[in-house]
């Protein structure tokens, strides 16, 4: 079998290997050739600081501040990236702190060419960058000490925030002023990994203390002098347009300052949130409901099913599926469905703006700084360098705060224009859930066959769903020369199993529901469909699901590694108590390999997940504590979707509004989760998303093991099992 290469992955690999030397050419309207004008760098070096490069500042007070160009949304970048720099610097870890980077091309993602956080790529794309920044600073501190002592730099060594020569010692703080006068080296020597003091260790997160006493500042917590608060009445149906509004009651309510139409809807601006929200309830808006007023998700799925009966755009074609299928001894057909999903960050969307005649300051939890700043500038009528975007802590991101249109930033700038004062736009939970940009719903129609010997000989996947990339600036870069969206088919287009006749086809559905990447993107549904179907094929072959996979992964040692590890730690062959079953799944995503074994019971149609054993291979790793946390969190995120979550539309209106209709796994439902990390020297992969995809298929396969019923639709409902 010829392994087709995925363009994006190669991009990342090449770019990261080139240490930021290569950019992919994503063109964003309004951002000319990515050469955005230089703006304020992170607080510049003063007489008391040494700032050898954009990523570190060392003060005479010994503080080492690492400037982090990725957003902290829980995934630990304010710790793992400083670890990389501090290790090469030989810093005293107790003196290391972090600071969010301002928006500046210096802080662009080395592979994507814009400042952003996504694709589980922060650590592996920053590996070289942060290590080199630390090593350069260290070389300059050594040079400063050597000069002072009049010795050769090679006779000096460093340890825990100080340069040493024999019995002599100068701390980095003592050397900061002298080092600041030196020229940064052109080449630096990086440490031999065996000398790492921080990298590879479960170092405690730097941002924990402020998250335990209420002092961490999220976007929602930003307070500006004279700030007003606004809520927006948004269309009840996607694509609906405001015809008129009646604010005769609302505008005289306490605290209300202004009620104004903006492109996103009608903004109610008041002194406080509660006043704004109360006044919005008294507002009457007349909408032209537009073309989506009869949209129903059940009907949509029916259409998807029909569409999957005809061939789609060819994504992959190995061998001859039709001929192999005709000759197969046993055939299996299954159609899998997954719904629209909401990111549902704990912190609902918000954005604070202080717009002046010649400046604009924006505070928000952004995953897309370059784009958000450019879009804010357009609305403000200012050049991007006049717009400052302050990245706060993100109360969860999961992709929602990386919106190609900067929806939550743009509308806030419109509101600021009308408010004439600093203003924060706050979304209620209902606004957030109903505001769109969901994980698209998908249908996978899969057919497969095994020969008389129980060998898998044929597989055809046909996918139907909306494209995330299409129509966005990313589409132009990632869909170049393709008539399908790689984000729709990722995880099935590179199916690793050695099946000689394998076809993947994609149908793009055009529906006016805004969709966006949600944690693990296409993998969130492709892993469910493919790994459940693997179990169905194993059933047709009369083989154990784990061993059936093993047999087809012989040329894929890293898949095999995590699969074996999960199976072994879970005790795959050990019998379970009656009424319990095990399921397994393996998947590659975001440069990392993951396998889960789930143990479930089903009683009166209620599924309980008792235990999840997760194996993860992300190559050379930085912080195993954070990796375990992300893997556990990913499993819970995936399990929540598998067991509970579904967005549905009736007559164009979303039926879900809050946590009661779109539940999240809670403490009493949370299984015991074990994470096992593969120790190797392979290239580093991502960790924020790879823990998600295997959860749903492992649970669904376990449900089959205990009930004999196949799960082909998420969320899992026993009434719909077949």
């Amino acid at each position: 079998m010829i392994r087709r290469k995925l363009e994006r992955r190669d991009f990342l690999k090449i770019s990261v290997a080139a240490s930021g030397g290569l950019l992919i050419g994503i063109r964003f309207p309004g951002i000319s050739g990515l050469a955005v004008a230089q703006s304020s760098a992170a607080q510049p070096a003063s007489a008391n600081t040494f700032m050898p490069n954009a990523f570190v500042r060392i003060g005479t007070d010994e503080r080492v501040t690492v400037i982090v160009n990725h957003s902290e949304m829980g995934q630990g970048v304010y710790t793992s990236l400083p670890m990389l720099l501090a290790d090469e610097l030989d810093a005293d870890w107790s003196k290391v702190g972090f600071e969010p980077a301002p928006v500046d091309p210096k802080y662009n993602h080395p592979a994507f060419g814009i400042q952003m956080t996504g694709g589980s790529s922060s650590v592996y794309s920053g590996l070289q960058q942060f290590r080199e920044a630390g090593a350069a600073a260290r070389a300059m501190l050594i040079a400063a000490a050597a000069q002072q002592w009049n010795v050769a730099a090679s006779d000096c060594r460093t340890e825990s925030g100080a340069v040493l020569n024999g019995a002599r010692k100068l701390t980095y703080g003592q050397l900061a002023s002298a080092a600041a006068k030196l020229t940064p080296p052109e080449h630096v020597q990086l440490k031999d990994p065996k000398d790492f003091k921080l990298i590879g260790k479960p170092i405690k997160r730097l941002d924990t203390p402020e998250k335990l006493n209420g002092s961490a500042v999220f976007g929602i917590d930003v307070k500006l002098p004279g700030m007003l608060t606004a809520v927006i009445a948004r269309p009840p149906i996607f694509g609906a347009k405001m015809k008129s509004f009646d604010d005769s009651r609302a505008r005289s309510m306490p605290g209300v300052r202004k009620i104004v139409a903006i492109p996103a809807g009608v903004a109610v601006i008041a002194d406080t949130f509660w006043q704004a929200k109360t006044a919005r309830e008294a507002l009457r808006v007349d909408w032209d409901e537009g073309s989506m007023q009869n949209f129903n998700t059940s009907e949509m799925m029916h259409q998807f099913r029909e569409r999957a009966k005809s061939p789609g755009s060819s994504v992959r074609k190995d061998g001859d599926f039709d001929a192999a299928m005709a000759a197969a001894a046993r055939k299996v057909e299954a159609v899998y469905e997954v719904p629209y999903l909401s990111h549902l960050m704990m912190e609902p969307l918000n954005c604070a703006v202080d717009l002046r005649a010649d400046s604009c300051e924006v505070w928000t939890g952004s995953q897309f700084q370059t784009i958000d700043r450019a879009n804010a500038a357009k609305i403000a009528g200012l050049p991007p360098e006049k717009v400052q975007l302050h990245t706060t802590f993100l109360g969860g991101g999961f992709g929602r705060r990386a919106n190609p249109q900067s929806d939550f930033v743009v509308e806030a700038v419109y509101v600021a224009k009308a408010a004439g004062a600093p203003v924060k736009v706050l979304w209620t939970r209902e606004d957030d859930m109903q505001g769109g940009w969901y994980r698209p719903a998908f249908l996978h129609a899969i057919e497969g066959g095994v020969d008389a010997g129980g060998n898998a000989v044929s597989w055809r996947s046909r996918l139907v769903g909306q494209s995330i990339m299409s129509g966005t600036p990313f589409g132009a870069a990632f869909m170049k020369g393709k008539d399908y969206d790689p984000a729709s088919v990722e995880g099935v287009d590179d199916l690793p199993y050695e099946i000689p006749n394998l076809t993947v086809e994609s149908h793009q559905a055009e529906i006016n529901v805004p969709v966006q990447w949600l944690r693990s993107v296409g993998h969130s549904h492709t892993a469910f469909a493919t790994e459940c179907f693997m179990d169905e094929l194993a059933g047709a072959a009369g083989k154990d699901p784990y061993r059936f996979r093993r047999g087809l992964l012989q040329k894929h040692p890293r898949h095999l590694g995590v699969l074996d590890l999960a199976a072994q730690k879970a005790g795959w062959d050990k019998p379970l108590p009656k009424g319990m079953g095990r399921g397994i799944a393996v998947h590659f995503a975001f440069e990392s390999y993951s396998a889960h074994v789930a143990e479930v019971s089903v009683e009166d149609g209620n599924i309980r997940v008792h235990r999840m054993v997760c194996a993860i291979d992300c190559g050379q790793y930085v912080n195993p504590g954070i990796i375990a946390a992300q893997t556990e969190g990913g499993a819970i995120f995936g399990a929540s979707a598998a067991l509970f979550q579904e967005l549905t539309f009736e007559k164009g209106r979303l039926q879900q509004t809050n946590f009661n209709s779109f539940p999240v796994m809670r403490m009493n439902e949370c299984p015991q989760i074990e994470t096992y990390l593969v120790d190797n020297h392979e290239k580093s992969g991502g960790i924020g998303e790879p823990g998600v995809p295997c959860a749903a298929p492992a649970i669904a396969n376990a449900v089959f093991a205990v009930t004999g019923k196949r799960i082909r639709k998420l969320p899992i409902r026993m009434s719909e099992a077949v």
Partner: protein, 156 residues
């Protein structure tokens, strides 16, 4: 005029009595550690103590705390010395951190009522607090650890 104590300090406010306590705490008093998540007592991010009981401040009209004692996350301990905060540090619990104020405030009431909680006690006390990042396994471990710390160190 509504008067109550917040973290040991008396406050008197001119405010619409139907306003949820959450927004008074966050906007009038500037204590932003208490978070908004759902507005309907579904997620627990807004949990505070009223006279020592864990309450969802997003559905509690401020009129209901007149003359009462309110404790927010800022009042749990000024210096992270509370056994729960120490245990949360040792278990490296938070990810995004947004729900953790509410988690800690719920756990504080649990430990006061049940100094050596079982897993079932933890389920019961903590199920009203959602964490979208999935820190539940670590919260569970941290609560057990805090209970051990408190038992060893006595009342702090």
């Amino acid at each position: 005029m509504i008067g109550f104590s917040v973290n040991g300090k008396r406050v008197d406010l001119e405010v619409d009595p139907s306003t949820p306590l959450l927004w008074v705490i966050r906007e009038q008093l500037g204590l932003t550690g208490t978070k908004y998540g759902c507005g309907m007592a579904q997620c627990g991010a807004c949990t505070v103590h009223i006279n020592g009981e864990a309450v969802r401040s997003c559905v509690t009209p401020v009129s209901r705390v007149d003359g009462k004692f309110v404790t927010t996350i800022e009042g749990l301990s000024p210096d992270l010395s509370n056994p729960l905060q120490r245990a949360w540090l040792e278990e490296d619990v938070p990810q995004c951190g947004y729900c953790q104020s509410g988690q800690l405030m719920s756990a504080a009431v649990l430990l006061r009522e049940k100094p050596a909680p079982t897993d079932e006690d933890i389920d019961e006390a903590m199920t009203g607090n959602i964490c979208r990042c999935g820190t539940y396994p670590r919260i569970r471990r941290a609560i057990h650890r805090a209970a051990e710390m408190a038992a060893k160190g006595g009342a702090r």
